[in-house]
Amino acid sequence: MIESAQSFQVSSRGPTPAARLVFFGVLSLLMMFVDARFHYLESTRSVVAVLVSPLQRLATLPSVLLQQGGDFFVMQSSLINKNNELQRQRERDAAQLLSAQSLRQENQQLRSLLALSQREQFTGQFAEIVYTARDAFSMKLLINKGSSEHMQAGQVVMDEQGIIGQITRVYPWLSEVTLVTEKDHAVPVQVLRNGIRSVVFGAGDTSQLAIRFMPVSTDIQNGDVLVTSGIDGIYPQGIPVARVTKIERDAGYPFARITCLPLGGADRHRHLLVLSVLPKLPARPDEQAAPGVAPVQEKKAEVR
């Protein structure tokens, strides 16, 4: 009886759509949970990434060809102009570089006199943006160098004007860069003018960053440039991050609401600089002494 009832169904192949919906829905939810919490699926992801990388290359081909075509038909006069401009800039920069070198020497000497540890020098590797992520939510982009070129998660990505973001995931031939504008992405910064330290957060919008916990009375002005403070051991010291554009001091709140404009232009250039991994800072003693300390408190200590 039961068999005949089953054979009467029109779609007798396998389980019903509803059963499949439940199965694959639960599977998806499970995957999301595992991916978000435990990061167990990175190897699966990189395998799929290798499989789809030809497709991704193909997708970027039209824009690359268009650009190369544009390069081919560039006017000679504009090239000469640009070349002259670059030359002038190089001369200007060379003068500054010379003084910077002498300053660095002096700084090294002073630091060794004071028995302080030397400032880290950082070198970089050029990479090209393959494409930006294609939904309005995610502030991510992919660059054309991966683990085959010794990229590692945590490396800092910048352009000539400022910090772009940080490598968060490495595939064999690609790396994923999370932008500083990603929601809740934090960068420890310092006001260049007076050295006040703070942490700047992404706002989930390409043209905005926010400083959250700055007391109303803090000396910060419109147009102040924020540079990395180098305290976290991830971002090297002194790289421009953002410029303050708006300060709202509302007496009702204990903190000023400060909005900044990121200086690095993730949506402007194709070429980026990936900084080499910095040497690890000495381990924080608190963590070993008291492993039970809440991480929130540690973060606050870092901010100050």
Binding site: S11, R13, P17, A18, R20, L21, F24, G25, L27, S28, L29, L30, M31, M32, V34, D35, A36, L41, T44, R45, V48, A49, L51, V52, L55, Q56, L58, A59, T60, P62, S63, Y131, T132, A133, R134, D135, A136, F137, S138, K140, L142, R169, E176, K183, G204, D267
Partner: protein, 170 residues
């Protein structure tokens, strides 16, 4: 509109799985194009439209499982959470498969309004997960749902005519 109805009622030969796979790959490619700025906000989800088309017209060969796999691939391409697109496309395929008999009885204009509902559910599912994980909803995202719906008629006509051409050639 008459020719459209004709295309609907015409008996079409079975589609080779190669054709289905190629169309899905093309849709993935279109999705992976470097969309920027306003276009990024407005860009339709080609994969969703193509998957929905096949789920509606070939519910036995393209179903929830295939949509899920395509979703996983999209997750990797989009660098989104593993399973986020997969879940959304699973819902999409379920809608397409369950309503396939009913949808095929309508003409393209009437189909469009129903397709809009299924696509909004799909987009809503994706946004819901995003909201749960990141705590924000980007309302602009739903504009893509509108443009995807607008694609339904051209894509259906295109696929129907391609399937007819195959019949004539043989």
């Amino acid at each position: 509109m008459q020719s459209l109805d004709q295309a609907q009622s015409e008996i079409l030969r079975p589609v080779s799985s190669l054709f289905i796979i190629t169309s899905v790959l093309c849709a993935l490619l279109l999705n992976a194009l470097p969309w920027k700025g306003l276009w990024l906000t407005l860009h339709p989800d080609f994969v969703a439209v193509v998957l929905l088309y096949w789920c509606m017209h070939k519910p036995l060969s393209v179903g929830v499982g295939m949509a899920w796999m395509v979703g996983v691939v999209t997750d990797v391409i989009d660098a989104s959470l593993f399973g986020q697109h997969a879940l959304a496309y699973t819902v999409l395929a379920f809608g397409g498969v369950v309503l396939s008999y009913r949808l095929r009885m309508f003409d393209l204009k009437k189909q469009t309004s129903q397709v809009f509902v299924i696509l909004s559910l799909t987009y809503g599912m994706y946004a819901l997960v995003h909201w749960q994980v990141n705590g924000q909803i980007v309302w602009n995202y739903f504009l893509g749902c509108l443009t995807s719906t607008l694609l339904w008629i051209p894509f259906s006509i295109l696929f129907q005519s391609m399937r007819q051409m195959r019949v004539e050639r043989e």
